[in-house]
Every structure is written in structure tokens, then in C-alpha cells.
């Protein structure tokens, strides 16, 4: 932890209350002073961040770090570096590794590695042993060891009886079951979304109902169990209706959406770039717009990446044979921000999104960019505040709070190149694509750990 005090001068700060121009003084890893024109402590480094925005660093409910088992695609350090550059301070690693994280001893093993990572990494555990879908893991022991999320992600918990038992345990233990909702019989051998593009291209496809049928089933199970259910990477319009209705009746169901489902539609398939092969698949333009609308309307609890590295040779196969998944930690902010502000610019009247301007103080030179500031408000809510709440580490910005901060430029554009990708695997659909908004810096425990796209070694900035 840095002994040197740091002053972030002149940024637009996004706290839970809204956004306002404010300086931030960081000492001993915490914010010690906050407000306009606060005096800098003696010997403090002063960083002028006029024109930039600051909030709590992002938290990801859904990433695959591939440890243990596939170090060619990713390891904890490369994945955490991708997170650092993407503005993340907290990751939830998925347990579909080799071997799968289905017992306390394996959680303990990976935590030893995570302790060395440059950002905080939490571990989810499987719902069933070896993710085989048959026998529940020892949820009580894992919960006592601090595991709060259980998922067989990569595949669904298909057996409804197993799912019901898992939800009952979740009610007793106060933990969450995260479900990858997919009816395997309905998705069949599909590799892309069912629609006009799969039809024209002759590709085997999966319909939206392959997802929503399991969402509907699990909500029925949840009603019977009283547990906690988290819907991962929702991508079907009917899933949104089901979750909205379930929340309306007070069931404990939360949900996430990915940046790639917000940004892309299935017209991309005509390029046959296997980096767009992902499960659930990139949907139609109509569904994409509905997902953006739902995020603006507060229907999701989080934007989560589903960062899924696969080494190059695996993706250099036919669309049928290439594995599902794309990497997203480094691009999540710009992809999400782009999807939000482009939709806002195209559709001035946003149905269901109450446009109350969340500024609580002066915004100075930012005044001409209100559209972008509103978009950024949504980004901080669903990439930072809300997922941190779900992960049990709520944050705000104010005196006494830990200085885990991300600095972003809402007016910049970025175009990712392969060389900039920190992950071992390069299966990014964002390469060469111009996106709005850039992550400028990432502070971990008060120390600057990335700046302008470069990793900063400890104490060396």
C-alpha cells in the first residue's frame, strides 16, 4: 500500500448519489478527503484528471480465468491484467475448470493463486460434482468456506430435481445459484441464433425459447424453494418478461447481460468470424435493442462479461466445430458504453427509462455531453455498484472508502489491436472495431496499477 498521498484533481466523480465535479485525496489506500478544491496534503502527488470521470472500479460476476487446466488460453495473472486494463477491481471466477471447482480443497488451492493476483478474485463453485449434473456438491461446506455463488456454467443444471435441491440449499445457506439457462434438447446442435441469418447461411441454430424455457422452469422451482437465483447472460426477450414478473411478485431472482449481447447482432455471422460464436448466441437486432432497453430501464442487476478465452488454433475451425466463447474483460466498458449511447442517440424517447439526470453538483465543461454522462451513469450502476452489492462488497465514493477506483474518458474512442490484448487467448470480436469511451486508469488499494493502456508495476508509477 502506497505511503505517498495522491490527489485526483478536477474529475467528474460518480458516487452512489450521482455525479459531480470533485477532487479525491487518497492516503493509505483510502479516500481521506473529497470535494471541490480540497487542499493537497504535503508531498502529495497531484494528478490532473480534468475531463475524465471516476467511480469505483468495475466488478465482474462472470469470467473464466481457465485456472486450473488451460494455461494456453489464460492464467490468473493474464486474466487479472486484462481485468486491470478493463477497469476491473473485482472478478468472480467460474468453476468450469479442469478439474472443476467442486470441493473446499480446490477452492482453497485457487485462492492461494488469487492472493498473488493484482486485483481481487472471488471463486464460484459448481452446483454438481464434476459439473456432471447429477450429485450436488457439499454446498454447506463450501458456503462455510465463503463461497457465495454456485453454478455449473458452461452448461445448465438440466435436471429439475437437482436444481430444486440446489435452490433449497441456497435458501438455507443464503447463497445464490447462478444458472446458464439452456434447454439442451431445444438448442440441439445449434451454433448460432435461430433467425433470418441462420436460415440464409444454413447454420444449425438455437431459438430464444431454448433459454426462456429454462428461465420459466427455474422461476417455478424458485417459487417452490424460496432460494436465490441469478440468471446469467440473458439473451431472450421472453426471459426478460419472465424475470420482470418474478421480481414483481417478490422472488429473489437477479440477472445479468453481457456487453456482446448489448452491442452486436446476428448480421455479424455473414463474416464467419468464429470469435462471434458464443453461447447464448448473439441475437437479432430486435432482441439486442430490447436488451439495451431493459438495461436502461433497470431490469438487469449487472453487466457481466462471460470472458471466455480459447486459444487461437481452437477458434481456427469451422463455425460448427469452434468452441463457444469470446474474451471481454478489456473491452467490456467501451462495448457497453457504445451500445448505450448509440441507442440513446438513435432513440431519443426511451421507453421505460426514467431520465432523471443524476447529477448532484456542478458538471462544468461536461455540460454539452449530458447524453454520454447519462450513459456512464448506467455503466457505473451495472458494472460497478450493483455487481459489487451482489458480491457482498458494496462500495461508495466518500471519505473513508477504499480507493479502488477506475478513471474513464467518456469522450474518447478506442480501437483494439491484437497486441493490446493482455489475455493469452486473442478471441476478441472487438479487434479493429471503433468503440466509444476509454478506460484511462485503474487504482487498486490507492495505487495506480494501470494507466493509458499500460500495466503499472507496484510502486513504480
Amino acid at each position: 500500500m502506497s505511503k505517498e498521498a495522491l490527489v485526483l484533481r478536477g474529475g467528474l466523480v460518480y458516487s452512489r448519489r450521482g455525479f459531480e465535479l470533485s477532487d479525491i485525496v487518497v492516503e493509505e489506500g483510502k479516500i481521506t478527503s473529497y470535494g471541490r478544491d480540497v487542499p493537497a496534503p504535503e508531498n502529495a502527488r497531484v494528478l490532473d484528471i480534468g475531463g475524465l470521470c471516476v467511480g469505483p472500479s468495475f466488478a465482474d460476476l462472470h469470467c473464466h480465468l481457465r485456472y486450473p487446466g488451460d494455461s494456453e488460453a489464460e492464467d490468473v495473472v493474464s486474466g487479472a491484467y486484462a481485468g486491470l486494463l478493463g477497469g476491473y477491481g473485482l472478478l468472480l471466477a467460474m468453476p468450469n475448470t479442469l478439474p472443476a471447482i467442486d470441493r473446499v480443497s480446490r477452492v482453497a488451492e485457487v485462492r492461494e493463486i488469487y492472493a498473488e493476483a493484482p486485483i481481487a478474485v472471488l471463486q464460484a463453485a459448481c452446483v454438481t460434482m464434476e459439473r456432471a449434473g447429477e450429485r450436488l456438491v457439499d454446498m454447506a461446506a463450501l458456503a462455510h468456506a465463503g463461497v457465495e455463488f454456485f453454478t455449473d456454467d458452461g452448461s445448465p443444471v438440466a435436471n429439475p430435481r437437482v436444481m430444486l435441491e440446489a435452490l433449497r440449499y441456497s435458501a438455507i445457506l443464503g447463497v445464490t445459484i447462478s444458472q446458464h439457462s439452456e434447454d439442451g434438447d431445444l438448442s440441439g446442435n445449434g451454433v448460432v441464433n435461430e433467425g433470418v441469418f441462420s436460415e440464409a447461411l444454413g447454420l444449425p441454430s438455437m431459438p430464444e425459447v431454448a433459454e426462456s424455457a429454462i428461465v420459466a422452469r427455474d422461476i417455478e422451482l424458485l417459487r417452490a424453494s424460496g432460494g436465490r437465483l441469478h440468471e446469467m447472460h440473458l439473451s431472450a426477450r421472453e426471459s426478460l418478461n419472465l424475470v420482470r414478473a418474478a421480481r414483481g411478485e417478490g422472488l429473489a431472482v437477479t440477472s445479468e447481460v453481457t456487453p456482446h449481447h448489448l452491442l452486436w447482432n446476428d448480421s455479424q455471422l455473414t463474416h464467419f468470424d468464429t470469435n462471434f460464436k458464443v453461447n447464448p448466441p448473439i441475437r437479432s437486432e430486435g432482441t439486442r435493442m430490447a436488451l439495451v432497453q431493459a438495461l436502461l430501464g433497470g431490469e438487469f442487476d449487472a453487466v457481466a462479461t462471460d470472458h471466455a478465452p480459447h486459444s487461437g488454433w481452437r477458434k481456427e475451425a469451422s463455425f460448427r466445430e469452434a468452441p463457444f466463447g469470446l474474451i471481454g474483460l478489456q473491452s467490456a466498458f467501451s462495448a457497453t458504453f457504445s451500445a448505450l449511447i448509440r441507442q440513446s442517440e438513435n432513440y431519443v424517447q426511451l421507453r421505460g427509462s426514467a431520465q432523471v439526470d443524476p447529477f448532484v453538483g456542478e458538471i462544468g465543461d461536461f455540460a454539452p455531453h449530458l447524453g454520454r454522462l447519462r450513459g456512464l451513469w448506467t455503466v457505473f450502476r451495472y458494472m460497478s455498484y450493483s455487481p459489487r452489492d451482489l458480491l457482498g462488497v458494496p462500495r461508495d465514493i466518500g471519505v473513508g472508502t477504499p480507493a479502488d477506483l477506475v478513471v474513464v474518458d467518456p469522450l474518447a474512442t478506442v480501437t483494439q489491436s491484437t497486441q493490446e490484448i493482455a489475455s493469452h487467448a486473442k478471441n476478441s470480436p472487438y479487434k479493429g472495431v471503433q468503440l466509444e469511451g476509454a478506460v484511462i486508469g485503474n487504482l487498486v488499494g490507492g495505487e495506480i496499477r494501470s494507466w493509458q493502456g499500460q500495466i503499472v508495476e507496484k510502486e513504480s508509477f
Partner: protein, 319 residues
């Protein structure tokens, strides 16, 4: 955000999809195939020597003796060298990757790679990876452009020119779901002014017909009288993966082109089939051998059209 990402670029000479061709190129290919057809009837000694350079390799991940032989005949008639590489198992777990295999052929110095693969879009991927021109000889259920060009050639010979195709109705009967022949033909023949429709059992018909620009019927007998051309598709049992399993007997009862149905049609009706036929399923023996069935002509057209396509791949439009 449909316009994010780079535009798809196809190498000049490559033929990956019917949509790669401008209408002028289609007309040019048909005209050239016609010239080549006459050339082939001349003595070998009178053929131009300029044809005799260039190498073609067929990279086939799916068995297809007929298509491979057709390309081989076309290449040899042009004086080109022809080699074939058949890969039994395309699974990346069991051998080198698709990319490595195609790069190897590129490094061996072939001018044209004729590619058949069970995976949709593979020719588009390979075309990005290697420098030789790529000719799609069938990719999964997506496209089979040389078959469609050959069929257009057959049709215009039969009707008396490309212009005569305008407004003619063609019905594709049977397994449209799994048919690359239907997808390429629908795209090409629509662009030539024909009015395509599809007929067959519901689960083998497109769920999104506007994606193909076709009307759908589930009842052959009710529409067969409106058609100028009936294109019979092979039931591709090997591709059936879902509840599309079908009883050949009940299929034949509703959709088979047989002597009984043929007797009710106009004398000028044209029947087509890309081969190989499942005799007794989509077509019976009498119809297969009838004079209105152009299947044999389709094979001959395939030969000259593939010559024209290989010339185009080598950057030679004519002599």
C-alpha cells in the same frame, strides 16, 4: 449495430457464394461456358495452348466423387494440373487445424483450391487465410455456387437464353433445410428474374422464408400446376439430426415425382435433380429416365461451367 466491423472481402477469382458475383459476371460465365461447350466439340489439337498452365487442388472434407470428378475433368480439359486431398476427419482434435491444412496447400504453390467442407462458411474463412483463389464446392448446408451456375446454364439452354428465364416459376421440392443446392440456386435464379418457391414437409422448410426470398407450400399437388420447373432435392438423411427424421414411404406419398404426378403436368414441364437420386423416395425410376428430366444435362453443364469458373479463378476471362 449491423455495420460495425469490417466489410467482407473476397479475393478476386474466388467463388465462395453466389452473392460474390455481379450480374455481369453471371452473364459472362454463362456466355463463356457456352463457348467452351462448342470448343470441347472441336478436335483437341485446335484448342489454344494458353490454357495449359496452372494448378488446381481439390481439398475435400466430405466425400463427393461426382463433384470432384467434375472439377477434375474441367481442370484437365483446360490443360491444368489437378490433385486431390481428401481429409476423412475434419475434427481439429484428431489432426492439424483447418487453417494449417489450407496454408500447407497454399505453400505448395497451387493456384486454385477447390474446397468442400461440412461446415458452413469454411470457404469464406479459408479465403481469408491463404493466397490462392478458393472455389467453394459445397459448404455444409450453405452454398454450392458452381452447381447453381451449372443449373442456370442448363435452364437458359432449355428456355432459349437468360432473358427467357424472367418470370418463370421454379419449385424446389423436398429437403430445403439441409440443401446448399437450393440456397445457391434460389439466390442465383432470383437474380436472373425467376420466381422460386419451396415445397415440402414443414420441418424441412425454412422457418424464415423471407431470408431466402421464397414462398413456401406444404402441398405439392396444390401448386405443381403453376410451376415451369420442378427441382427435386435429395433427402439428405445423413444430415438429419433432430426430429426431422422422416419416413421415406410417407414422404413419397406426398412429394415424390412419379409417373402418376407427371401425367397430370404440362408437356413443357422441366424436371431437375442435382444427383445422386434416391430412387423410390423423391423420384421414381420412370420419371428419372423421362425426357423432361434434365439431370444428365445438369452433369454436362457442370463440366463446362466449372471450366469457366476455374478460368475466372486463374484471372482468365477467355482466350
Amino acid at each position: 449495430m449491423s455495420n460495425l466491423g469490417s466489410e467482407m472481402k473476397v479475393k478476386p477469382g474466388s467463388l465462395l457464394s453466389i452473392g460474390d458475383l455481379t450480374s455481369e459476371e453471371v452473364v459472362g460465365l454463362v456466355r463463356r461456358a457456352s463457348e467452351l461447350k462448342h470448343r470441347l466439340s472441336e478436335p483437341i489439337s485446335s484448342r489454344p495452348s494458353s490454357w495449359k498452365s496452372g494448378s488446381v487442388v481439390a481439398l475435400f472434407y466430405e466425400n463427393s466423387t461426382r463433384t470432384r470428378l467434375s472439377f477434375e475433368q474441367a481442370a484437365r480439359a483446360l490443360g491444368l494440373s489437378f490433385s486431390a486431398m481428401e481429409v476423412r476427419n475434419s475434427s481439429i482434435e484428431k489432426g492439424e487445424s483447418l487453417r494449417k491444412t489450407s496454408e500447407t496447400l497454399s505453400n505448395l504453390g497451387y493456384d486454385v483450391v477447390v474446397l468442400r467442407h461440412g461446415g458452413e462458411g469454411v470457404p469464406i474463412q479459408v479465403d481469408r487465410w491463404i493466397s490462392p483463389a478458393v472455389v467453394n464446392a459445397g459448404d455444409g448446408c450453405r452454398e454450392h455456387p458452381t452447381q447453381a451456375l451449372a443449373d442456370a446454364f442448363t435452364l437458359q439452354e432449355s428456355f432459349g437464353g437468360l432473358e427467357a428465364l424472367r418470370g418463370k416459376r421454379i419449385g424446389f421440392v423436398g429437403d430445403v433445410l439441409h440443401s446448399r443446392v437450393a440456397r445457391s440456386n434460389i439466390a442465383l435464379l432470383s437474380s436472373l428474374g425467376m420466381r422460386p418457391m419451396v415445397v415440402g414437409p414443414p420441418h424441412l422448410m425454412p422457418k424464415y422464408p423471407r431470408a431466402l426470398g421464397v414462398e413456401v407450400s406444404y402441398d405439392l399437388d396444390s401448386i405443381v400446376g403453376e410451376l415451369d420447373v420442378i427441382y427435386l432435392l435429395r433427402l439428405q438423411f445423413e444430415r438429419f439430426s433432430d426430429p426431422a427424421a422422416i419416413d421415406p414411404g410417407s414422404y413419397a406419398a406426398r412429394y415424390q415425382m412419379n409417373a402418376r404426378r407427371l401425367a397430370r403436368l404440362r408437356k413443357e414441364i422441366i424436371l431437375m435433380h442435382p444427383g445422386p437420386m434416391n430412387l423410390g423416395v423423391e423420384v421414381d425410376g420412370a420419371v428419372a429416365n423421362s425426357s423432361v428430366m434434365l439431370a444428365d444435362e445438369q452433369v454436362r453443364s457442370g463440366n463446362v461451367m466449372r471450366m469457366a469458373v476455374l478460368e475466372r479463378a486463374l484471372g482468365r476471362g477467355g482466350e
